[in-house]
Amino acid sequence: MRLRTSPAKLLVLVALCLVVLVELRTALAFVGVSLSIGATVAVGVAAIAALLLWAVRPAGSGE
């Protein structure tokens, strides 16, 4: 399987995703938007899944 990016970059991106999610949830709570744990996890799973899909989709297809 060929990735669109290197596994190392993918790992760092996934980590960044998690981190941004945790901090964003706090930031949103300050402006009065509170995400439940469930919603946060769902957003996280969706974001990471999207990232992984993007990475494994062969370059050039559908573009």
Binding site: T5, A8, V22, E23, T26, A29
Partner: protein, 582 residues
């Protein structure tokens, strides 16, 4: 250093000495991380394997092992490497070099013994005073003796590096001090100026009092002397990380340091400004006037400057490196960075966390906002983003590059090492995010059971249970990451018959020292100015504290931490009753 040779080839004896310092550091990290895990699970009431009163023995060990032993042993190793490598000469007398290492190890062992003896009743030694050892809480004298011996060891280490530099200067008259050595010398100047405070606190007041030579002391005075040292010590942890960011990171990114002159200015600013700020840890102390607190606040804000300048140089150097590697565009160059390299990625992530933590530091420094967060869990949140990541993660990442140079062995498990630094990054964000939020709703730090009977915390979003879970998950990830790091280090040490990937050479800066005025290298001048600033900032507060509370304080009996909780509670109850009756 001959081209292509590792440091271990060029300086085998020095490499052995630096490895010894690193092993002392890594051992402390392992034990400290284990205690961290116990704390994370205990205070959240998720798993309690110890009695709550033992928690404070654990916490004392966590603080001392990590911020005294782990950080300082690592940094003397890095400094020894930086001085030897950049002056291209070994220490003048290796026996002296081993001597200060021996003193530091002896001191650390004595203090560690005094703390760990607290786990058993069979030895009558206790030091459950946390790493700040505020009197009149009293530890066993060995605890203080060990700290003094350790600090004296670091002073001699500094003397060793100055000696190397003077010898080098004799052979290279009129030359600019090589940047790595310049950083080491300025950092040590700051350390000399600041550690005098803790030395006086211990030698003049706390140690004689713990040996019952003096009857009492002035708690505000010893506390103020501690914080005179307590803020600069955070820069003592951080500046070796800065050194690695300035010296190593640009090279790892594939480029060169942007500006040598600016790096020198940054380190001089730290010499001048790190000490006259310690009172910002005492914004809530009675007996210190608002004026002194205000001065500490303004100085602290100016101390942001060298860090902001560092952020610029680091990012500029990384961008330069990325473009050398073929990176393009406004942001696209980021993808051209060597993310596969754990040393690079670890430092880059540490830098990101540091920038974020810097903003939480501004909240602490804001003297009136500080009242909301002082001594809440917010503070360990800040501690772990700064020394616990900016310094610790940079050290671990740096070790992935340095240890192969020091052993001549190839790093084992490069991919796992990448996973390790990424795990630390994720773990720290989980743990500190929970700590920051917990602090804002008033959950205290340094508390075995922050669950009280009389009230509930009012968490704006989520619940205390959720905060606890997040803290425990973060702490566990961190612990796993620390263990993974240690395992890779041990395996690398035994990975004989291999060679490091990198040749160990450090490229010169884009803008070299010749672009800066020579006055930057006039160390005597900076020492003099720093001393004047310290005298201005501290003479009046100290005089006022002594005139209020006396040099040796009002007559307060010692409060040994050895008294067990039950008898103390009983005594308290008695006192309370007698107070009501009378």
């Amino acid at each position: 250093m001959p081209n292509g040779a590792t440091f271990a080839d060029a300086y085998p004896t020095q490499a052995r000495h630096i490895r010894a310092a690193f092993w002392a550091s890594f051992l402390s990290l392992g034990v400290g991380a284990f205690f961290g895990l116990i704390q994370a699970l205990h205070r959240t009431d998720i798993l309690r394997v110890i009695e709550s009163q033992t928690y404070y023995t654990v916490l004392t060990a966590h603080g001392v092992f990590l911020v005294i032993s782990f950080t300082i042993f690592f940094l003397v190793g890095v400094f020894q490497w930086a001085v030897t490598d950049s002056l291209e000469r070994p220490p003048v007398d290796m026996r002296f070099t081993w001597g200060w290492y021996g003193l530091m190890s002896l001191g650390a062992s004595l203090t560690a013994f005094a703390i760990l003896a607290g786990f058993t009743d069979s030895i009558d030694v206790r030091a459950n005073v946390l790493f700040t050892f505020y009197a009149p809480l009293q530890a066993h004298p060995l605890f203080y003796v060990g700290l003094v011996v350790f600090v004296v060891g670091t002073w001699l280490a500094g003397a060793d590096w100055f000696r190397s530099w003077l010898a080098w200067k004799g052979d290279n008259p009129g030359e600019r001090i090589p940047l790595p050595t310049f950083m080491v010398l300025t950092t040590m100047i700051m350390w000399y100026i600041s550690s005098i405070g803790v030395a006086v606190a211990i030698l003049a007041f706390i140690l004689p009092w713990s040996l019952e030579l003096t009857g009492s002391l002035n708690p505000t005075l010893t506390r103020t002397l501690f914080w005179y040292f307590g803020h600069p010590v955070v820069y003592f942890w951080l500046l070796p990380a800065y050194l690695l960011w300035y010296i190593l990171l640009p090279k790892l990114a594939g480029g060169r340091l942007f500006s040598d002159p600016l790096a020198r200015v940054v380190f001089i600013l730290f010499v001048l400004l790190s000490t006259p700020v310690g009172i910002h840890h005492q914004y809530l102390d009675p007996g210190i006037s608002e004026g002194f607190k205000f001065i500490a606040m303004t100085n602290t804000m100016f101390l942001l400057l060298p860090s902001l300048l560092t952020a610029f140089t680091i990012i500029a150097s990384m961008e330069h490196g990325a473009r050398q590697r073929g990176g393009e565009g406004y942001f696209n160059w980021l993808t051209a960075l060597p993310w596969r390299d754990p040393a690079f990625t670890g430092m880059a992530l540490a830098g990101m966390v540091f920038a974020f933590g810097g903003f939480t530091g501004i909240v602490n420094a804001g003297m009136n906002i500080n009242y909301l967060v002082h001594n809440t869990l917010w503070v360990p949140g800040h501690i772990h983003t700064q020394v616990g990541t900016a310094a610790a993660l940079t050290f671990m990442a740096g070790a992935y590059w340095l240890v192969p140079q020091l052993t001549g062995n190839r790093l084992v498990g490069r991919g796992l090492a990448l996973v390790q630094v990424v795990l630390w990054f994720v773990g720290i964000v989980f743990m500190t995010n929970s700590m920051y939020r917990g602090g804002l709703v008033g959950i205290p730090r340094r508390t075995a059971e922050p669950q009280y009977e009389g009230f509930e915390y009012e968490v704006a979003a989520g619940s205390v249970g959720e905060l606890n879970a997040q803290l425990a998950i973060g702490g566990t990830i961190l612990f796993v990451s620390a263990m993974l790091f240690l395992a890779l280090m041990v395996l690398t040490a035994f990975n004989g018959g291999t060679e490091p990937i990198d040749d160990g050479s450090i490229p010169p800066a884009l803008s070299g020292p010749e672009d800066s005025p020579a006055v930057l290298d006039n160390l005597k001048l900076w020492v003099a100015i720093a001393a004047v600033l310290v005298v201005i900032a501290y003479s009046f507060p100290l005089a006022s504290i002594v005139s209020r509370g006396g040099l040796f304080g009002p007559d307060i009996g010692p409060i040994p931490v050895a008294i067990d909780a039950a008898s103390t509670v009983a005594r308290t109850a008695l006192e309370a009753v007698s107070a009501v009756v009378r």
